[in-house]
Amino acid sequence: MTEPFSPPSANLDDRWRYNFGFLDENTKRMLRRALLKAVAVPGYQVPFGSREMPLPYGWGTGGIQLTAAVIGHEDVLKVIDQGADDTTNAVNIRRFFARVAGVATTTVTRDATLIQTRHRIPETPLAEGQIMVFQVPEPEPLRTLEASEVETRKLHAHQEYGLMHVKLYEDIARYGHIATSYDYPVMVNRRYLASPSPIPKFDNPKLHRSPALMLFGAGREKRLYAIPPYTEVESLAFEDHPFEAQHWSQACALCGSSDSYLDEIIADDAGVRQFVCSDTDHCRQQREAAQ
């Protein structure tokens, strides 16, 4: 006889309970070993056995596996998507871990010990002891220029990164400046070229000598890498075209912040445009402080 289906919940018997953090212990151990290697060799892409997760590729399967591997009972989890705590992806992943790990969650950057993110680094400066987990669609910064994985691995091994500058050269030749505005390539610890994940280049300087541990997971590509605390992270550039983060002439329409990353939104049916903070937690804090 087949068992009738009933949704899992905390007070059902043991057969329905997920292992802590969803993944089984052996998978977590495999991931932790890979993460230790990644931390030991900053910026180096470590292959791992990516598992099927209960969400599609491109929705953060890499990030969610890393979070599952490092999360503990005492952790306080924050999940953001494009800086916002309240978008579908962020809400789902936060709820997922609340259910499968039973951990506390928060939207306040300062209160979080573990932050899984898609495409942003919070405006609130990170602190020692905090861990950032980045969702990465394409871990290989050279991929658009060199299709062969065999070749890109050799390029990393021999530290031949002239090719990355070919892309920046093309940007300047075509647009007059380095037009790459997100997923802007970085040199980690003066050794490995790495993708910072599709964060805006506005966030690149936050990677440099950050007190927090940065972990990057690409589920579909089965690669993870790390930037340990206080690691040198340099955004590539030319001598005569130095790295430059985005600037806005506007301030946030909601909180008045002039030094945060702004999203352009259409506010009403008349097509009125507004610039507002992409980091919803930061924006809320600024408004609360002003009151």
Binding site: K154, H165, V166, Y169, E170, A173, F238, H241
Partner: protein, 256 residues
């Protein structure tokens, strides 16, 4: 005078009778050497083995770099081989798509090797690229065009610029005129001849065209069945061929 390349007893055996065997020769700075022979004679295998693209089964290849340092290429670590390949050597292929990056501009194609050697000044890179485009008779106004918008002859000339920009000592060329019309070919050969002469670059060129050898090369190796059957000064080999196979090749040249 010491040779920049000394090859002794070089062997690459595919195990089915194909490959190249017992290859000996020396190449001096500024010399152009043609390797001629029909398809399957082992000439491309020899070129790829010399350039380290294939691992030799036996023998020795000693290369002397700009600082007169000798490198045994058959035992060279991959990292060192790649360093030599981007600073001291060039490699021009028959098909431009194998030798160029078709999805980036001509300027980026030419300056890539400079970037690989650490040049990080956009203005200087662009100036060098424009200068080399002019040298290979491509207008500097084509700097931002992609190679796929170029004719076959222009693509081959772009390969030359892309390789010579770092002033290598030795350039390997594998049938560089193979796909070109005769008139286009003449322009490519003349240009190559001049640039090689002006920059004192040694060239090893694989071709099945004896006319190309006559025009460009002081020296020629004739290959058949993986072996060098005749070697010497190009004019001597073409005017007084000794080996039956060479005599056949020479008598097969179409007289214009």
């Amino acid at each position: 005078m010491t040779p920049i390349l000394s090859v002794q007893g070089l062997r690459k055996d595919y195990g089915n009778g194909q490959g190249c065997f017992d290859i000996d020769f020396e190449l001096f700075a500024g010399e152009v050497l043609c390797i001629v022979g029909e398809s399957g004679s082992g000439k491309s295998t020899l070129l790829a083995t010399l350039a380290g693209k294939l691992a030799a089964d036996d023998g020795s290849v000693v290369f002397r770099d700009k600082n007169e340092r000798a490198h045994e290429l058959t035992r060279l670590a991959e990292a060192e081989r790649r360093r030599l390949a981007r600073s001291e050597w060039g490699y021009v292929t028959q098909h431009a798509r194998d030798g160029l990056r078709m999805n980036v501009s001509a300027g980026a194609n030419v300056s890539e090797r400079l970037m690989a050697l650490g040049e990080r000044h956009y203005g200087r890179l662009r100036a060098a690229a424009a200068d080399w485009l002019e040298k290979v008779e491509i207008g500097a106004d084509r700097l931002d065009d992609k190679p796929c918008a170029f004719s076959g002859g222009m693509q081959q000339r772009l390969q030359i610029a892309r390789n010579l920009v770092t002033r290598p000592r030795l350039v390997f060329m594998d049938e560089p005129t193979g796909g070109l019309d005769v008139s286009v070919q003449a322009r490519f050969l003349d240009l190559t001849r001049r640039l090689v002469h002006d920059n004192r670059i040694a060239v090893i060129m694989v071709t099945h065209d004896l006319g190309v050898a006559r025009l460009l090369a002081q020296r020629t190796l004739v290959m058949q069945g993986g072996r060098v059957v005749e070697a010497g000064l190009t004019d001597q080999i073409l005017d007084d061929p000794q080996h039956p196979y060479t005599q056949l090749l020479v008598s097969s040249i179409l007289q214009a």
